[in-house]
């Protein structure tokens, strides 16, 4: 069963399509190809070899696998290299401010619940200026998907230390090595209450597409940490680095993603440097659909019809005015 919002979902719900065959036919017509998501006229501004290219391709493939149409998706991004994402995908996009993608996405989704909202931003964007919004979005459990491109560096501003850079990182902003301990994105996501938390390296295209699609289908706030090589400013963590270390966590023996404690135990081992051979667990690390409802489930005002689709031409306030008489 597909869980994303498509216009067919809406039609079905409204009872306009009853015939099962008809639904299947429409569903098929509805599907897209990767090229339907391309923006060929928008020349990429990323460095050749940047990890963002693979993420972009994975994203388009995930959209195709979900059988949704470009106009049914809105990518809301922050500012940074990752923030340029919406320009390279044919769908709706809002390129917001540095660190403010989540609150804008909240507004987009609350006003039009029928849109599939994806948030894209960098590690600086999400965990620097955007940290407060991150915490509140996780506890809000709005039905949006957040792809956080973690290259452990400020790419767009040419290589300063980011909140996820390991301690001791030497860059132009910390020439003697950074002093602060880094933020662990997965830990932040889980402890703040996100109901779907994953980590992917797009070098494993098959897994990344699958996990992204699942994140989109998840009802609630889904966070995917995208391990993203920045070949220009963080060259030691290049494709080779991740290829050698990333493993599919779902193939490990004790895999138990519906158990928060299992996921947190993994986080603690990672933080303590106890992982053998520096392997990096990729895949869905925590996923609980039944933990709690989404924010929109609690809003009767848009339960039947998205706010943007409601008629506002003649709102009646006379009864209210009576009360002020």
């Amino acid at each position: 069963m597909k869980l994303v919002n498509t216009s067919e979902d809406v039609l079905k719900k409204s009872g306009q399509i009853n015939d099962h065959e008809e639904v299947l036919r429409l569903y098929d017509e509805h599907s897209s190809e990767v090229k339907d998501w391309d923006e060929p006229e928008h020349k990429s501004q990323w460095c050749p070899g940047c990890g963002n290219f693979a993420i972009l391709l994975a994203f388009k493939k995930a959209m195709v696998s979900l059988k949704i149409r470009p106009e049914e998706v809105c990518i809301v991004s922050g500012i940074g290299q990752a923030g340029k994402f919406p320009h390279y995908v044919k769908c709706y996009g809002v390129e917001t401010l540095h660190g403010r993608a989540l609150p804008v996405a909240t507004g987009v989704k609350l006003a039009n619940k029928d849109v599939n909202v994806v948030v894209v931003g960098g590690d600086g964007d999400g965990f620097g200026l955007g940290m407060g919004h991150f915490v509140h979005s996780a506890r809000r459990n709005l039905d949006v998907t957040y792809l956080i491109h973690n290259n452990e560096i400020y790419g767009l501003t040419k290589g300063q230390t980011s909140p996820t850079s390991p301690k001791g990182t030497k860059t132009v902003s910390t020439p003697n090595g950074s002093i602060e301990t880094p933020i662990h994105p997965v830990e932040q996501a889980i402890t703040n209450g996100a109901t779907f938390v994953a980590r992917c390296f797009a070098g494993d295209m098959e897994q990344t597409v699958r996990v992204m699609a699942q994140a989109m289908k998840h009802k609630g706030f889904a966070i995917v940490e995208m391990l993203q090589p920045c070949v220009s400013y963080n060259p030691s963590k290049n494709h080779q680095y991740f290829k050698e270390r990333c493993i599919r966590v779902e193939e490990s023996g004790d895999y138990n993603p519906t158990n928060k404690n299992w996921a947190l135990a993994l986080v603690h081992r990672e933080k303590a440097g106890l992982i053998k051979d520096e392997k990096i667990a990729c895949g869905i690390l925590y996923h609980n659909d039944s933990e709690r409802g989404t924010y929109l489930d609690e809003l009767p005002e848009s339960a039947d019809l998205a706010l943007v689709k409601q008629d506002i031409s003649n709102v009646d306030i006379e009864g209210l005015l009576d009360k002020f008489e």
């Binding site: 809105c74 996009g93 917001t96 804008v104 909240t106 507004g107 609350l110 006003a111 809003l299 005002e301």
Partner: protein, 594 residues
């Protein structure tokens, strides 16, 4: 004029000072009078000194008075602080315990044995007894008092049980009876019910603006509480279900405005409300809305700054801040309603204007208009038309072709779509962009897009952006200039100046941007050159003064700037005008002013 009264109530925070005020306001309204009810309170929940003033007359009243016919002092501090605000025939109502302990000998004191009158029902009826005593002093008869007290309390406690209402009525009447029996010698104007045929409502400026927004089809509100804007949040939160609006108490003001931008980008009518500090946090996002052409509406309710300032006190210090907020140059609409009518119709129109010109619209209010309760004719909504401008409503059967969000058009306005519309995909962007929304750093395109954005403001109704001339248009002795809520206070002063033979022309700047500066020059130049213009502003540096000078070169010499965080009193305005004209050799008879 039959009815004319002004009452002040003072007492400790948390002891029902404002309940007495509101009950009196409702009492006067039921008697057909026009009412202004204002509050003055520090930023404390319990323990501070609160006062409120209730003024009522047969005809329109716009502002509170400085001196009062009745001053009710609910504790010792109130006696110390507020007795001086009685007028020369005014009386002071207080607890007879205080009359004794403070040795208050003047015969203007009326002592009420509060404790013994409410012994059986308890201390929480203190405000009801004070209300009853005041009504006793100003009502023509006990029957009359009884009738209106019953109506007032039934209305006030509408949702509570009949028992609570009945006890309150009973207690209030004890107050009436006590003053009738013991203080009949005190002379006071009596309130006589008049037939007021216009349908009227009584509310605050924030209520009026919020009602306008609701009528305009507001669908999404996100706000972070900050006095004096907070009542917007609770107003809409209470109407989420009845009026299908989503109200979000955001994590901070940055989130609030960005929530609103997202909802507006989606296609919904959306707003936030805040005060100066919160607005400062919104700056970056406001220029984002300007760049991305998202119609957002922001109600900025000024309080005295800088910084945290005086949270519960009024001020007009944010005009320049709001006008020039945001990085870079982009169009922004800023207007400041002067009374409840303008707050309501402005609250409605803000959304039409935002949709028309697709840019931020800031409605500037201040604590005085935001939180004062006034009567005003019931708003006529029959002619209000929601106009969404160049906007494609969602249509599942439509596929747009060659859609360009930022198309360069003659009037600068390009079509908006609902996110989700087939054929409408584009990036709504904070970066400079080409017509499609794709990032562009081309100098020529930047110029074209800058011009496109700026010329959008030319589409706003030319009449709307002219300052309003009130009262006389010609044959006047003096011109009084103000913006925002001072409109009402100057109107009040004008009423008395005119009674004393001083001919007044009043100019109210509602629109600060855009504003028809050529017209301003036309109506002011001769008078400024004759030095017969006075400007009144609630700030220290004369921000409207600077704005007028910047845009017209006119330097209004006589400026009255009030920055003690309190509203102007019209009595002071009257005196200022009188003194100014006397200095200029005018012979003023005077006397009517009160």
């Amino acid at each position: 004029m039959q009815n004319k009264i002004s009452i002040k109530v003072g007492g400790p925070a948390g002891e029902g000072v404002f309940t007495v005020g509101l009950l009196l306001a409702k009492y006067f309204k039921l008697n057909g009078l026009e009412v202004v009810y204002t509050t003055d309170y520090p930023s404390l929940i319990k323990g501070g000194h609160n006062t409120c003033s209730i003024r009522a007359e047969d005809g329109p009243v716009y502002a509170e008075m400085k001196h009062h016919d009745v001053v009710a002092c609910m504790d010792k501090l109130a006696v110390q602080e507020d007795v001086s605000s009685r007028n020369h025939t005014g009386i002071v109502v207080t607890d007879s315990k205080l009359v004794e302990s403070m040795n208050l000998q003047d015969d203007f004191y009326v002592g009420i044995p509060i404790d013994s009158l409410i012994e059986d029902v308890g201390k929480r009826f203190k405000n009801t007894i004070v209300f009853g005593a005041i009504v006793g002093l100003i009502s023509v008869s006990e029957e009359d008092a009884k009738e209106f007290i019953s109506q007032t309390l039934s209305k006030h406690f509408g949702k509570k049980s009949q028992e609570i209402i009945d006890t309150n009525i009973d207690v209030a009447l004890r107050g009436v009876r006590f003053v009738n029996e013991h203080v009949s010698h005190k002379k006071l104007n009596k309130i006589v019910k008049i037939e007021n045929t216009t349908q009227r409502v009584m509310m605050t400026g924030n209520d009026a603006a919020a009602l306008g927004a609701l009528k305009a089809g507001l669908k999404f509100v996100s706000e972070y509480p900050m006095t004096p804007s907070t009542s917007f949040l609770s107003f809409f939160a209470a109407r989420e279900i009845s009026h299908n609006i989503t109200t979000k108490h955001a994590e901070d003001e940055i989130a609030a405005i960005n929530n609103v931008i997202g909802a507006a980008a989606s296609g919904a009518r959306a707003m936030t409300a805040t005060s100066g500090g919160g607005y400062a946090l919104m700056n970056e996002a406001i220029s984002f809305a300007g760049m991305s052409e998202n119609p957002v509406v922001i109600f900025e309710c000024m309080r005295a700054g800088p910084s945290t300032g005086l949270p519960t006190y009024t001020d007009q210090g944010d005009l320049m801040h709001v006008l020039y907020s945001g990085s870079g140059e982009f169009p922004k609409v800023v207007f400041a309603p002067g009374d409840l009518q303008e707050a309501f119709y402005g609250g409605f129109e803000a959304f039409n204007i935002a949709d028309l010109v697709q840019t931020p619209v800031v409605v500037l209010l201040d604590k005085h208009i935001s939180a004062s309760v006034m009567t005003t004719p019931r708003f006529d909504t029959s002619n209000l038309v929601v106009n969404r401008g160049n906007f494609q409503e969602f249509d599942a059967n439509l596929e747009l072709e060659n859609y360009k969000r930022y198309e360069l058009t003659q009037d600068g306005i390009s079509k908006r779509v609902v996110i989700g519309q087939k054929g409408g995909c584009h990036v709504n962007s904070s970066y400079e962009h080409d017509e499609s929304g794709w990032t562009s750093e081309d100098g020529e395109m930047h110029k074209l897009q800058m011009e496109k954005r700026h010329k959008k403001l030319n589409n706003i109704d030319k009449e709307l952006i002219k300052p309003k001339i009130l009262g006389r248009e010609s044959d006047y002795d003096i011109t009084l200039v103000s913006w925002g809520s001072n409109k009402s206070i100057l109107q009040e002063a004008t009423k008395y100046l005119e009674q004393d033979g001083i001919k007044v022309r009043q100019i109210h700047f509602m629109f600060l941007n855009p504003c028809d500066w050529e017209y301003v020059d036309e109506i002011l130049r001769i008078d400024v050159e004759k030095n017969s213009v006075m400007l009144f502003e609630g700030n220290m540096t004369g921000q409207l003064h600077s704005l007028i000078r910047m845009n017209t070169g006119l330097n209004i010499l006589e400026k009255k700037l009030k920055y003690d965080a309190r509203p102007f009193f019209y009595e002071d305005v009257y005196r200022d005008v009188e003194n100014f004209l006397k200095k200029r050799g005018m012979n003023i008879v005077g006397g009517n002013q009160k």
